[in-house]
């Protein structure tokens, strides 16, 4: 599928901001499953945008606005083509214990995705869930799908229930949260069971175009702005995406921006500025499918 995505973030500062410096992770990455054919970032006020690739292979842009300003608008526009990934988990006929054995060879490369990280804490309840839901003798592929399903059914998607600093423990107590919380929890459970898992930040097409029969096809849950899901490393050497907020494998309607150990590695925007703390933020994402 081909998508045109426009992602606009606007900050209004009642007290002027200055010496603002930000890192943007907004350009979707290129992978086997998706290709970015065009991308452009526009900043208002007009400043130079510089870019580099980070440790995890994500495309990062940086901007610096030293002088006083009361408004900052960041607009990112891109064209992405996604490809289907049929039967991503179908071919595995092995247990979790066997899968873990097969990771041994790549222990060093996978280490970051097996260890706790800033948002992914392996607290006791997480370890318990890992031994219940991903026991060593259970089949690898089936268990992952069951875990995805379990989280989808037992936890509630509720926008605004949590914020970007919510930990796995807090989410487990509240039992409601957003895609980021679902992703962090699922990563924690996978890692606790010895399965390498990483965080994916991206876009999802929530409202698909109307079908031939005039009815919309299935609507998906996703944040108004960006979406988040996870990837698990398979014993045969590739990453497969699971979206616990929608209880599905990632598909053609998912567009990846970047990957990392958790949210802290791929925030769409990270920056500092001087000025009053009060700021008004509005984010708008438009994702349209091009036939």
């Amino acid at each position: 599928m081909r998508f045109h995505i426009e992602h606009t973030t606007e900050y209004d500062y009642p007290d002027p901001a200055s010496e603002s410096f930000s890192e943007l992770r907004l350009r979707p990455r290129d992978s086997l499953r998706q290709k970015v054919t065009r991308h452009q970032t526009l900043i208002e006020p007009g400043v130079l945008v510089e870019s580099h690739i980070d440790y995890f292979g994500n495309y990062v842009e940086t901007i610096s606005i030293p002088y006083r300003h009361q408004r900052l608008v960041i607009s990112s526009a891109c064209e992405v083509e996604t490809k289907p990934f049929n039967d991503a988990l179908g071919a595995f006929d092995l247990t979790i214990a066997e899968a873990r054995q097969m990771y041994q060879e790549r222990r060093r490369e996978l280490h970051d995705f097996l260890r706790p990280s800033q948002y992914v804490r392996m607290v006791d309840p997480v370890r318990e869930m890992a031994s219940d839901l991903l026991p060593e003798a259970a089949p690898f592929a089936e268990s992952l799908l069951r875990l995805n399903d379990h989280l989808y059914r037992t936890l509630r998607y509720l926008p605004g229930a949590t914020d970007s600093g919510t930990t796995v423990e807090q989410f487990l107590l509240r039992r409601e949260g957003v895609c980021q919380d679902f992703a962090h929890l699922m990563i924690a459970i996978c890692r606790a069971a010895g399965l390498p898992a990483r965080y994916v930040s991206g876009y999802i097409e929530t409202d698909p175009p109307l079908g031939d029969d005039g009815k919309p096809s299935e609507a998906l849950i996703g944040a108004v702005a960006t979406h988040a899901w996870i990837e698990v490393f398979t014993p045969t050497g590739y990453w497969v995406g699971l979206d616990p907020t929608n209880n599905m494998l990632d598909g053609e309607r998912h567009v990846q921006i970047g990957i990392g150990r958790d949210y802290a590695d791929v925030p769409p925007l990270k920056g500092v500025f001087k000025g009053g703390l009060a700021q008004r933020l509005s984010v708008q994402v438009r994702m349209t499918r091009e036939e």
């Binding site: 410096f21 940086t62 030293p66 006083r68 970051d112």
Partner: protein
């Protein structure tokens, strides 16, 4: 090294003078004889002298969690450590080899990670260490140099061999204490230094500067700054001292700004590109966007400059990983792996607790080990199971089993004692630190730091825990040095062309020092004059006669008027509230506290006399606030007089001791802006708002009060020799160029200062503060005062002219506003760089 090492039992009982050989032993003998000649009283006198010099030189170390941290003076001892030339050559080669291995390790880790792939270093050790900076992987550094400056702590092992007990390859501290130890000895007991051919050390800062200059990617006159975490850091003394000795700016994160992958210093002349940053700030804090976002100490975006290679950071980003003691323990293996081994100066036999076999060894006899955190360098994270009660020990060992990756263990080394003059020549355990310059051609400078424990049998030598320092003598002989000990000397025939101008933060602090000083002075003078007026007119005028003037003054000094309302006890005199009341954010005491705080931040750039005058002003208020009855009118009156005297002292100290350079001009700018503003506001409030007849015949009393508040009654009398009239008073206060605090005189002073500091400024003249001040001066100088006292047409004949009807009020309001705008403009152009046009 001597082949006939003494047995371990013997080493335990020996001190350094007994282990020394040849020339070293001889010099130790002479020192001991000489110092032992003195009786204990003489020795004490000499020691006291050393200690006094430490205080005079201000050799301090801020202890964390201590109340009066800023004033801790390190204990000093006269008896030096002596290193004979042979030992020095051996140790130098050892540390040079070691710094090379560390550099190779960083080069590998931040590139292809062969040491991890091959398992020489377990990858978990690196990947789980917060000092491993993922952001720095794949980034090239100039000359492939990561470790520009390193230090190593040495001690003798049980057989008397030197081993490295601590590697410092990230943020290296202590060199200043080594230098000051020599300075103190030279002054306290110069006769000692005449006993031996000791290598001089005073050239170290220049060597360091030349060394850093070598990493500027070929730039001819590189601009170098020392980036410090600020004045609350325990090593602040060292940072400011080194920066001053090298002649480079001491900066904080906020002084630098990143623009399009280039790092700039904010100076009063605009932003200036920086080529080399000698940083004393840890990786985690250095860039709040790339690393810890809660850090306010760093430079947002600095990593983009590193990535583009536009600035050299020394030591390179990511070297904090070297604090990991487990990696330090593996250095001999790394030396072989990189074909640089074997190490001539080995690491202490450190045990890694995550290795089950090594842990078992520790658990079998825990009392013979000293256990440390694997990477935290805090001297509080050291455990001695041998000194723990049984219960505490088993609790500790449980934690060690649960988190073995957090701990490393070392045998307890002798830290061979040195005779100690301040302890009646008894031995005190001591350690040795050597400093190395890394790079393509690593070398050492003949300088070392010796620290010692101050208590008998104690092994606590850390300066942060009360350890003392002493001189280290590196002896010369005729043999040429095995490695070049000097950098390529740089001689310049003319002063630097690209000299950095005064940093904006320092200018900003001086500007605000000037403003706060003038504000406090003005408020105090007003209070004093009004109190006297009240006393002089008692009986003739009712007490509330002065209430409007009090209120006017409160308003003119931006006080909320509730500070003037009588309080519950019926105290009418607002002096206490305006001077000292803790809940008044605009009190004189607060102004002086702000003056003090601003001075503290630039303490290293102002003369000590100015600092003590500021300190005294602050203390006067503090003492008054803490006194038994701070509201007592007599005391308050005394306080006001003392404050005014102390302000005069400050002015005198500044005028006499400050260089009349850019810094001086910002101090003047602050004073003149504040004065012009307060003169304008006070005049407006007294004459227009509350004067009974704001006409030519304003009440004598009000005009008299105004002249006295602005301390120009004598000027008025000598000029007019008549009763004051409002237009004449206003003419004097606004327009007389000879009256130092007239608005015109202040503006002329501002104009002169701006002309000096803007000398090389790049800003467009169209919007510069210079232009604004010129316009304002014209406005004031040629103002038609007569018209300002002519009532507006609306007030017809027969109707008394309402005070607000005079054009004088709005005119003074506008003048006040434009003076405030001028202050913002000065800030924008020289201090905060918010003027859009100068950054484009």
């Amino acid at each position: 090294m001597p082949a006939d090492c003494p047995s371990s039992a013997a080493v335990e009982s020996l001190d350094e003078t007994q282990l020394a050989q040849g020339m070293g032993a001889e010099i130790y003998g002479r020192l001991r004889d000489h110092l032992s000649q003195n009786d204990s009283q003489e020795l004490e006198r000499l020691s006291d002298r050393g200690q006094r010099l430490m205080r005079d030189l201000g050799v301090t170390f801020a202890l964390y969690n201590e109340e009066d941290a800023a004033d801790w003076i390190l204990p000093y001892d006269l008896f030096p450590r002596v290193l004979d030339p042979e030992t020095w050559r051996f140790l130098s080669q050892g540390v040079i080899q070691r710094v090379g291995v560390w550099n190779e390790f960083f080069r590998d880790i931040y590139d292809s990670q062969e040491a991890l792939k091959s398992g020489v270093v377990p990858f978990e050790l690196v990947y789980d260490d917060p000092g491993y900076q993922r952001n720095a992987v794949g980034l090239a550094v100039p000359d492939d140099t990561f470790v520009h400056v390193a230090a190593f702590d040495l001690a003798r092992d049980a057989r008397g061999r030197w081993v490295v007990i601590e590697d410092y390859v990230g943020n290296v501290t202590g060199v200043t204490y080594g230098l000051q130890a020599r300075a103190v000895l030279t002054q306290a007991a110069p006769e000692l230094l005449e006993m031996a051919p000791v290598c001089p050390v005073q050239g170290y800062p220049t060597e360091l500067l030349e060394h850093l200059r070598g990493f500027a990617r070929g730039i001819q006159e590189p601009r170098i700054v020392l980036l410090s975490p600020g004045s609350y850091n325990s090593a602040h003394y060292e940072h400011s001292w080194l920066a001053r000795q090298m002649g480079i700016p001491l900066v904080r994160g906020g002084d630098l700004i990143v623009l399009n992958s280039r790092c700039y210093l904010k100076t009063i002349g605009g932003i200036e590109p920086i080529d080399v940053i000698y940083r004393r700030l840890d990786d985690a804090f250095i860039d709040p966007v790339a690393f810890r976002s809660d850090s306010t100490l760093g430079v947002p975006g600095l990593m983009t400059c590193v990535r583009k290679g536009t600035v050299t950071i020394a030591n390179a980003i990511g070297t904090g990983l070297g604090d990991n003691r487990a990696i330090g323990a593996l250095l001999p293996r790394l030396a072989k792996f990189y074909n640089r081994g074997p190490l001539s100066l080995p690491s202490v036999e450190r045990r890694l607790c995550f290795d089950p076999d090594q842990r078992a060894m520790i658990e079998s006899e825990p009392e013979s080990w000293m256990i440390q955190h694997v990477s935290e360098r805090s001297n509080r994270l050291v455990w001695h199971p041998g000194r723990m009660e049984a219960e505490e020990r088993s609790r500790f060992l449980r934690d060690l089993r649960r988190h073995p990756e957090r701990y490393v263990a070392e045998p307890i080394l002798p830290l061979t004692p040195l005779p100690t003059a301040s302890a009646g020549m008894e031995g005190r355990h001591a350690g040795l630190r050597l400093f190395v310059f890394g790079g393509k051609n690593p070398r050492v400078f003949p300088l070392a730091l010796t620290r010692h424990a101050t208590e008998a049998d104690s092994r606590t030598i850390s300066s942060g825990l009360g350890g003392g320092i002493r001189d280290t003598w590196i002896l010369r002989d005729d043999e040429p040095a095995p490695v070049p000990s000097a950098a390529r000397p740089v001689y310049l025939s003319a002063p630097l062309q690209r000299r950095l101008r005064l940093g904006s933060r320092i200018a900003d602090s001086l500007y605000w020092m000037g403003r706060y000083k003038s504000r406090a002075e003005q408020a105090t003078r007003m209070l004093l004059v009004l109190r006297r007026l009240q006393i002089e007119t008692a009986g003739r005028e009712s007490a509330d006669r002065w209430a409007p003037i009090w209120a006017a003054l409160a308003r003119a000094t931006s006080h909320p008027t509730q500070h003037l309302a009588p309080d519950a006890e019926g105290v009418d005199d607002p002096s206490y509230r305006l001077l000292l009341a803790p809940d008044n954010s605009g009190s004189v005491a607060r102004c002086l506290a702000s003056l003090h705080e601003n001075s503290r931040g630039v303490r290293e750039t102002i003369p000590p006399e100015v600092w003590s005058a500021v300190h005294r002003l602050h203390q006067l208020c503090q003492q008054a606030q803490e006194s038994e009855d701070p509201t007592d009118p007599v005391r308050l009156s005394d306080l006001m007089q003392s404050l005014l005297d102390a302000v005069d002292q400050l002015d005198g100290a500044a005028g006499k001791n400050m260089l009349h350079d850019d810094a001086w001009h910002f101090w003047r700018l602050g004073q003149n802006v504040e004065r012009a503003l307060s003169t304008t506001r006070i005049t407006r409030e007294v004459l227009v708002k509350y004067g009974r007849a704001a006409s030519e015949h304003a009440a004598d009393l009000d005009l008299d009060a105004l002249l006295r508040i602005l301390s120009c009654q004598y000027a008025y009398r000598s000029l007019y020799q008549a009763r004051p009239t409002a237009p004449h008073v206003v003419a004097l206060i606004l327009q007389d160029p000879a009256l130092p605090r007239s608005v015109l005189a202040c503006l002329e002073d501002i104009r002169a200062s701006l002309a000096t500091v803007s000398g090389v400024s790049r800003q467009a003249a169209s919007a510069s503060p210079q232009r604004s001040v010129a316009k304002l001066a014209n406005l004031v100088e040629f103002a038609d005062l007569g018209a300002l006292f002519t009532p507006a047409a609306s007030s017809g004949p027969g109707k008394p002219a309402a005070a607000s009807g005079l054009p004088l009020g709005p005119w003074l309001d506008e003048l006040g506003d434009r003076l405030s705008e001028l202050s913002v403009e000065i800030s924008d152009h020289h201090l905060h760089h918010q003027a859009f046009n100068i950054l484009r």
